[in-house]
Amino acid sequence: MSRRTLRVIGWRLLQVVPVIVLATFAVFGLLQLVPGDPAAVIAGETATAERIVQIREMLGLDLPLWQQYLHWLGGAVQGDLSTSLITGLPVIDEVLRRLPNTLLIVVCALILAISIAVPLGILAATHVDGRVDRFVTSIASLGVAVPNFWVGMILVGFFALNLGWFPTTGAASLTEDPARALWHAALPAIALASSGIAEITRQLRSALIEVLSSQYVRTLQAKGLSQGRILWRHGLKNVSLTLLTVIGLVFNRTLGATVAIEAVFAIPGTGSLVVTSATNKDFPVVQGVVFVLVLIVILCNLLIDILYSVLDPRMNKQ
């Protein structure tokens, strides 16, 4: 790594700070969307006046907005994301306890999506408008339009209930029992991967088609370089940046899509946590989950940015 690359990485790290600050505004602002008095809404229709006052004090809703924000931020910086209104337990503990279950199926889905989509995309791009291409494109259109939780339901019906190959619901800890954890994660990951496969295939196909029809590839062909060598040495190298961008995007979407998948497979992850807490108006938990997920995505984007500058030194000159 050159000094210039290192400097770019440092600069990127600095740029992350304002984004995180903005994210805290957004997460904090969620509570401001509650119509009327948040304390009364949180307490519910049957709550007594004391309970409403108690909640207002607990959340600091009687303070001016900027003090509320600073209070929340001060906690967040020290890893304290307030406590759940329902269980009374620290939000951060609950989120961190559930996060591995979610990340496991997301990472499995991502690996699955990449390893299926990359060959498909290459196959389609090297047979443009042929039968293979049309088949792959149709599969990709289906993958974008299909509700992933429905795919999950069908998988459960077939592979878990009919054939009994996989467990229908639940999750296991990766550190305690890796084999069982992966066995549990298999069907959710396949269901989650459906839209990722489609997205990566489509983007890779169109990027590769563009590169393969460019002037310099024509020059390479005229020079007598074999198709395979052109594809591997020049084609894929040039689309690797596009691929990286798409993978970042798909990671973000997959992280969101786990919400419905976790409901189907009864996985105790962050997705099911945000759904139950949104339903029960447990806003500190909702804010906590959103904040942690945003941080993960920001870090993932940062990683991709850094990979850019390592892969393509031209980026560093800007």
Binding site: P18, V19, L22, A23, A26, L30, L31, L33, V34, P35, V41, S141, L142, V144, A145, V146, P147, F149, W150, M153, I154, V156, G157, L161, N252, R253, L255, G256, A257, V259, A260, A263, V264, G271, V274, V275, S277, A278, T279, K281, F283, V286, Q287, V289, V290, L293, V294, V297, I298, N301
Partner: protein, 291 residues
């Protein structure tokens, strides 16, 4: 040529272009027919559906029969009738979410793209931040804050759509702003609002139309997910996503019930996507066929 006949000729030309587009793209034609059929089915839901979607009977989880085309659900309600009545819910949800997204995203995008400078920087940073949150999770959080229900959840989805649309229109505005005819209009002394509405928006809007069509499919899937999770359409009212949730609870007894609502969602999303892709290649000058 008189004014009237000129108008007729123009209309005719426009119609023939429309016919040529559909004739040249079978997928788009099929999608359009499907969506029009779905729309008319939604309007005529009360006439088409043989039963009320809320009418319960003793005949629970019945398999498909002549009396109940798609069987009955766990409360003895006719699945086919519920499917037909779920159509208008889904269409309403999709259009509401996309409208909210456009109403919020468009002004911010045009503002940032046209004014540039620190406003552009600020708006862009906010867009980037919101886009780094997984969209469904953000939609759920906003729904939780606004209150559970179909309209609120779709407003939430619309809010989540808005930064993406703003980013798109921002770039388009920046491109159009540099065009010669905009400079020309400005030298004529055109006011800024007039410049934006008469010259910039009409020329910047095309990719937005494509994106809006594609977002209708995304919104449909979001509605299905949120109703599946119990945050969208509330029982007893039917929606495709909520029907899937019920079907899932009784999957071991009546597994066939999860197919009809799933295919309804899939086909409708496919149709919106196919239409969007077709519009994209129609409107994209670099991909335009020689005609």
């Amino acid at each position: 040529m008189s004014v009237i006949s000129e108008g007729v000729v123009r209309r005719k030309r426009r119609r023939s272009r429309f016919v040529a587009w559909l004739a040249g793209d079978k997928r788009a034609a099929v999608s359009l027919v499907f969506l029009l059929a779905l729309a008319s089915l939604s309007v005529l839901a009360n006439v088409v559906a043989p039963y009320s979607p809320l009418e319960q009977s003793m005949d629970i989880l019945a398999p498909p029969s002549a009396a109940h085309l798609l069987g009955t659900d766990d409360l003895g309600r006719d699945v086919f009738s519920r499917l037909v009545h779920g159509g208008p819910m889904s269409l309403y949800a999709s259009f509401l979410a996309v409208s909210v997204g456009v109403l919020i995203g468009l002004p911010f995008g045009v503002l940032a793209g046209y004014l540039g400078g620190w406003i552009d920087t600020a708006v862009s940073r906010v867009i980037d931040t919101i886009l780094s949150c997984p969209s469904i999770v953000l939609a759920i959080a906003v729904t939780g804050a606004l209150g559970i229900g179909l309209t609120n959840s779709m407003i939430a989805v619309g809010i989540v759509f808005s930064p993406g649309l703003a980013r798109l229109i921002r770039v388009q505005t920046m491109i159009v702003k540099g065009e010669l005819y905009v400079d020309a209009a400005r030298t004529f002394g055109l006011s800024t609002p007039r410049l934006v509405f008469r010259h910039i928006l009409p020329n910047a809007i095309q990719p937005v139309i494509v994106q809006v069509t594609l977002l209708l499919a995304t919104a449909l899937l979001a509605e299905a997910s949120l109703s599946f999770l119990g945050l969208g359409v509330q029982p007893p009212h039917p929606s495709w996503g909520q029907m899937l949730a019920r079907a899932y609870a009784y999957m071991e007894i009546a597994p066939e019930q999860m197919y009809a609502p799933g295919f309804a969602i899939l086909f409708t999303a496919l149709a919106f996507n196919a239409l969007g892709e077709s519009l994209r290649s129609l409107l994209d000058p670099t991909r335009r066929r020689s005609d």
